[in-house]
């Protein structure tokens, strides 16, 4: 089994109100806010991208775990907005945290679930005794077409986890995945913005995979949902994870602590991992957490986690959620490089 030795979050400071986006495109702001359960989203600054977000999260994780970064044997960064098409984000992160050169690294892409896929790889390498510590990162500066439905949610942020064999703050008891070929959302090569299947992103994509992965994990580990104190689902908005919880009969209070999307938007590969970090920030020893990510295309990774001690993270998720500066739609289009010239 593997332990989480430490974790770090990072969310850019800029925010835009969802109602401001809706107003620009002639939609009903109240209806959009209410339908999606979103108030504002995090927007990267001009000098921020997935590499800088992943690095800040990774640095915070190293500080929290209080380990020698030279002992990190693997770094995997999951994102759908790696700044380079070819040249690994993970290598720059490794250099910036002082983990290079004796380590393996690769970038992952599986829409919003590439970060949890990295976590599974770190678990495998740690449990087989190949490495001492592994680092899994989920980070994104999500792209969205101006005026499209994704623009209300596509945000920026990330989280990094350091996985080791023992002596961590929480134990990852087991993991289970559910993957199929489902064309709910994609971005073709050299296209600036992704396309999506509208309502098709719901039932056959998000709900089928999240629910089956969650049920599969429970069956594999011989547990009931009642065993868990907190449940974290991938959060493209507030509506989807709330509805998934309802379908599974999970009481609302069990998903609340890990639901931060309302204030930061959908941070894609960062979303599930930031939700988990938010739960770990205040979790009590002995509490159990069930985590299920979702990546379009489509798949879900589920984890059963048992908290061993108080995290005492000096940079909790709340700190990043509350640190903000509002920008208007014009400034946002400049920052998100949506203006052609």
């Amino acid at each position: 089994m593997s332990d989480i030795l430490g974790y770090g979050a990072y969310i850019p400071k800029n925010r835009i109100k969802i109602r401001k986006i809706a107003k620009v495109w002639g939609k009903n702001p109240e209806l959009i806010e209410q339908k999606l359960g979103l108030e504002e989203k995090a927007v990267p600054d001009q000098d921020e991208d997935t590499i800088t977000i992943a690095t800040q999260a990774a640095r915070n994780a190293v500080k929290h775990a209080d380990i020698n970064p030279q002992k990190i044997g693997a770094i995997y960064t999951g994102s759908e907005s790696h700044p380079y098409a070819v040249k690994p984000t993970s290598a720059t992160v490794g250099e910036a945290i002082g983990a290079t050169p004796e380590m393996t690294a690769a970038d992952y892409e599986f829409a919003c679930k590439a970060g949890t896929a990295g976590m599974q790889n770190c678990m495998a390498l740690v449990e087989s005794g190949k490495i001492d510590y592994g680092m899994a990162i989920g980070a994104d500066t999500a792209q969205s077409k101006p005026g499209g439905a994704l623009e209300y949610a596509a945000a920026a942020g990330g989280a990094a986890y350091i996985i080791g064999e023992k002596d961590g703050i929480a134990e990852i008891e087991d993991t289970y995945s559910f993957t199929t070929d489902t064309p709910d959302f994609w971005r073709r090569k050299e296209q600036p913005y992704p396309e999506h299947g509208g309502r098709f992103t719901g039932k056959p994509a998000y709900f089928r995979h999240v629910i089956n992965a969650t049920k599969g994990l429970l069956k594999k580990t011989n547990q009931e949902l009642e065993n868990f104190d907190h449940i974290v689902f991938h959060q493209p908005n507030t509506k989807f994870p709330t509805k998934a919880a309802k379908k599974l009969g999970i009481p609302k209070e069990k998903i609340e602590k890990g639901l931060i999307v309302r204030k930061v938007g959908n941070t894609y590969s960062g979303a599930t991992l930031l939700g988990l970090a938010s739960v770990l920030d205040d979790a009590e020893p002995g509490e159990k957490i069930l985590v299920t990510s979702f990546g379009s295309g489509a798949g879900s990774d589920s984890f059963s986690i048992k908290v061993k001690k108080h995290a005492n993270n000096p940079r909790p998720v709340k700190k990043f959620v509350e640190r903000k500066k509002y920008v208007n739609y014009g400034e946002y289009t400049k920052l998100a490089r949506k203006l052609k010239r």
Binding site: K13, D47, I51, Q56, A96, K334
Partner: protein
């Protein structure tokens, strides 16, 4: 304008740009950033060793750039400052995540990795240290 910077020159300075690696003279105890080849105090008696500088310091002085050089035009107005690190060494860097009007001498800051420049649309993206107000 596409201006491609020499790759070896940038690559050699990654430890300095990504991790604030400077050096320290074991003989006189002074820290240097960027790293020095010889200790200016001790000359041939100096014993320099690598040292990762502390990532915190305070604003020693600053200026607000309103007329920027090529490649930085979109960022104006932005802050360029001299930061005195805990070791007493001074570093010149951009201050980001700050409203220029909020700047003041003595302000506590911490280092972050940010994008510094891009060599056009096809070239390399250059990352390095900037500072933000301490949170």
């Amino acid at each position: 304008m596409t201006h491609r910077k020499a790759l070896p020159g940038i690559w050699r300075r990654f430890p300095e740009r990504y991790r604030l690696e400077g050096n320290k003279c074991k003989n006189c105890g002074e820290h240097f950033f960027p790293p020095r080849i010889i200790c200016p105090n001790c000359r041939r008696d100096g014993k320099l060793e690598g040292h990762e500088m502390s990532k915190e310091g305070e604003i020693y002085s600053y200026t607000i750039i309103r007329s920027a050089p090529v490649g930085f035009e979109d960022q104006t107005p932005y802050v360029l400052a001299i930061i005195e690190l805990k070791e007493g060494t001074k570093v010149t860097a951009q201050i980001t995540d700050v409203d220029p009007e909020e700047m003041e001498i003595g302000m506590e800051v911490e280092e972050v990795l940010r994008k510094i420049s891009e060599d056009g649309k096809k070239g390399k993206i250059n990352y390095g240290y900037k500072f933000v107000p301490k949170s």
